[in-house]
Amino acid sequence: MLAYTARRIVYVIPVIISVALVCFLLVHITPGDPLVAILPADASQELANQLRVAYGFDRPLPVQFGLWLWKAVNGDLGTSIATGRPVLSEVMRAVSNTVMLALAAAAIGFSFGLFFGLVAGYFRNTWVDKVATSIAIAGVSVPHYWLGMVLVIIFSVQLNWLPAVGAGPGGSGAWSWDWEHIRYLILPAITTSVIPMGIVTRTVRALTGDILSQDFVEALRAKGLHETHVFRHVIKNAAPTALAVMGLQLGYMLGGSILIETVFSWPGSGLLLNSAIFQRDLPLLQGTILVLALFFVILNLLVDIVQASIDPRIKRS
């Protein structure tokens, strides 16, 4: 198990370097001025050149990349052009808000997804299955930003039950786990949970149906095992694949959703990316993408390790 873990960690290093290179190149090869956030179009050419030198954008791209990567390795992602604040603190604050939202959404999405998936799998081709599957398909198909707006119209504007926007009465900086703050989390979390719920439902349904049709289940029942014990075996066999799917979905959610966070003004990484893109704030954009990619890679690594510990066949392969 240790050797497997070490090998997987080594594989991750070139992936991270490639991600860093790709995100650096992507933001640099797009047309437009990298100083647009602080350089009005009416600024003189002399002033533009002066600022380009001050920010180091006059250097060759390989030099810029090398410097950026070296600083990043040392924990310095530079400063935001638009705000002058350190990128790392900006990203970490946003990521912590997104993690909170993602975990809440995961709790909702995975629990409902598992429930609907198991129910649909156990009662295949019945009306129960049809209802659960319909919910799953709707969850995957519905544009979630549209759903967010609909929820806001119903629960905030019409019923006035829940807040429409924000991350607490005093902002996320003053967050505490009481009802006054949790109210702000409910609508964005439900909206975020819809897609993973649908995907988990469909995956678990297919897995459950597949496992239930296998010979060993018949054998277990023939032995006279109680259905609860049979159910445990089904769960154990479905767990590795279901876990991989959930891990992947959690990874997506930890990346933050630009649309959902913008609709709810939730100060997470999605809203930060949105802001960085529109302000063309290259250090912030690069830093945010890099940190999110790292999260995704590390999460995948953890899922692989957990999968391997559950299913010995993976280690052997």
């Binding site: 797009t30 047309p31 437009g32 001025d33 100083l35 647009v36 956030a37 602080i38 350089l39 009005p40 179009a41 009416d42 600024a43 003189s44 050419q45 002033l47 533009a48 002066q50 600022l51 001050a54 920010y55 400063t79 052009i81 638009a82 705000t83 002058g84 604040r85 350190p86 900006e90 604050r93 946003a94 707006m149 806001v152 119209i153 905030s156 504007v157 006035n160 807040p163 429409a164 926007v165 924000g166 991350a167 005093g170 902002g171 996320s172 900086g173 913008t262 609709v263 709810f264 003004s265 100060p267 809203l271 930060l272 949105n274 802001s275 529109f278 302000q279 063309r280």
Partner: protein, 553 residues
């Protein structure tokens, strides 16, 4: 006996009721009033003195916490907003050297940290963006400041309450430009600089500015109370503000960045906010039905097509330029697509503005006249004139660029124009604007659609009309080269009597309209929707607004 008892009881009850009522009244009187505003910005504009995010930044984190030497009069919703004394009480250009100005400073003004405002503070604030070797020089503040006062060279202390400002060339626009230079507290900054831990002076300076942004100190009517980056900024009223008439009538103002129009509208409708900037046009009807008030007024903003004037451009024929201007039904655009949220443009400045002048070419909807001009220019139903416009799908001040351009495309088709578009991302369009029509980035287009602010003569006219302002110098994208414009610009810049300067500017504006220098389409109206609880708001003809008289009931 019973009567006495009853009288005592009634008296006791009355006293008790009175006490309760007094307590309730006292509580009401002492309850903090809070004004909650949803901005269109995706982030809190920079708080260190020179805001980013265009004029919305100046509106919310510039003019609230800071003052400049000169300021805009925002007290009227009918008259054009003009420059008035701010931290300077008077100013004059030197008789023998028109590059030197003397500014007398307002006595008795203090920064929020208690330090005095004086000539040293003015010199320090000029140096923060112009003197590269000054400890407080900050490159991140230079772009948004130096470009707005392009001729300012330096500042010198004459005495505690007098400064001398020097310009590169004679420039009568300087007092207008100076509305953009906000005064931050040098004392506060120095304390933060001294506290910064670094051996490198540049790093210490950056750390000091970052700390200053978190705990700002200006002289403005509002003081920073609490700042959560990217989420909220809380300002409290400055009871010691130097202009007692402008001490805020509300205790606290909370600013929240909300770039999504529907989110802002929902937050207002659900009672989370009291005021939102730029509600979505399709939400206006519902908002007014629910009792919210829509404030709007003509802004110094122009939504134009800026023509190419290089050799071979179809816009070189004045008949074509005039025809395009006469072919647009601006009222139809206003009432249909924009739900009333625009003012039809008949130039950069509308009647009533001191820089309007008396143009002879009347911009209005006159289809027969437009068609006649096009026929005279050699075009007709069987011979269309192809034009290509570079525009964006969104962008600050661009209003609804694609639908509006499609409206123009259909309208101009009736005047034998065949309009094509090159739609690009906003920041790229903005960058291309600096590069000009001769640059490959123009991509074969012969007009560009970038909106502009028209508060200041340089931004409104000079940078587009003066031949020396052609790229890479400034925004004369189409390389207009008209000696008459150049002469009028020079005349305006070198006329130092304000009334005479305004006349010269009006002459320049009239000449630009008579030449149909742009396709003038619309002025934005800076719409904002506010709760019926909000009183005292005056929406001036400006990008800015004075929050001081606003009350929350």
């Amino acid at each position: 006996m019973r009567i006495v008892k009853s009288a005592k009881w009634r008296a006791a009850t009355a006293i008790f009721t009175l006490a309760i009522a007094s307590a309730a009244l006292a509580h009401t009187a002492s309850a903090e009033t809070v004004l909650r505003i949803g901005m269109t910005a995706a982030d809190i504009p920079r708080t260190l003195g020179q805001p980013d995010q265009g004029f919305e930044g100046n509106r919310f984190t510039g003019l609230t916490m800071y003052d400049a030497l000169t300021m805009w009069d925002l007290s009227s919703d009918t008259k054009a907003s003009v420059v008035i004394p701010g931290l300077a009480t008077e100013w004059a250009v030197e008789a023998n050297d028109k590059t030197k100005w003397t500014f007398k400073l307002r006595p008795g003004v203090t920064f929020h940290d208690g330090s005095p405002f004086n000539a040293d503070a003015v010199v320090w604030n000029v140096d923060k963006v112009l003197k590269t070797d000054a400890p407080q020089y900050d490159a991140s503040q230079v772009g948004v400041t130096a470009s707005r006062m392009p001729t300012l060279l330096s500042a010198r202390k004459v005495d505690d309450m007098t400064v001398e400002l020097v310009t590169k060339e004679p420039d009568s626009f300087l007092p207008i430009n100076l509305t953009n230079l906000f005064m931050a507290s040098p004392t506060k900054w120095q304390k933060l600089y001294d506290a910064a831990e670094s051996a490198d002076a540049k790093a210490k300076s950056q750390a000091a500015w970052a700390a200053f942004a978190r705990d700002a100190s200006g002289t403005g009517p509002w003081k920073m109370a609490k700042f959560t980056p990217r989420e909220r900024l809380e300002l409290v009223k400055n009871d010691n503000y130097w202009d007692k008439a402008r001490v805020p009538k509300t205790d606290k103002m909370v600013l929240l960045p909300m770039p999504e129009a529907n989110a802002r509208t929902a937050a207002l409708l659900s009672g989370q906010l009291d005021w939102i900037e730029a509600p979505a046009p399709d939400a206006v009807k519902e908002l007014t039905q629910r009792g919210f008030k829509i404030y709007k007024n003509e802004q110094p903003h122009v939504w134009p097509w800026q023509f190419s004037r290089i050799e071979g451009s179809p816009w070189n024929d004045i008949r074509v330029r005039k025809a395009a201007n006469l072919c647009i039904d601006r009222e139809g655009l206003k009432e249909g697509l924009l739900a009333g949220l625009m003012v039809p443009a008949t130039g950069t400045f509308e009647p009533g503005h001191p820089w309007r002048g008396n143009p002879t070419f009347q911009i209005k909807y006159n289809l027969p006249a437009a068609q006649k001009l096009m026929q005279e220019a050699g075009f007709g139903p069987n011979k269309k004139l192809s034009v290509k416009i570079q525009t964006s799908a969104s962008g600050s001040g661009q209003m609804l660029p694609l639908p509006m351009n499609e409206y123009l495309q259909q309208a101009l088709a009736e005047c034998y124009f065949d309009v094509q578009f090159d739609v690009i991302e906003w920041n790229t369009l903005f960058t291309n604007w600096r590069r000009g029509v001769k640059d490959p980035s123009a991509n074969g287009t012969n007009a560009i659609n970038v909106t502009y602010a028209a508060m200041d003569p340089f931004f409104a006219m000079v940078r587009f009309l003066q031949s020396q302002m052609a790229p890479p110098v400034s925004n004369n994208w189409g390389f207009i080269n008209n000696p008459k414009f150049d002469d009028l610009v020079k005349k305006a810049r070198q006329t130092f009597d304000p009334a005479e300067r305004d006349k010269a500017l009006a002459e320049l504006h009239a000449a630009s309209v008579d030449d149909a220098a742009f396709l003038f389409v619309a002025h934005d109206v800076g719409p904002r929707a506010v709760s019926p609880k909000i009183k005292g708001l005056v929406q001036p003809k400006s990008w800015f607004v004075d929050f001081s008289p606003v009350t929350v009931q």
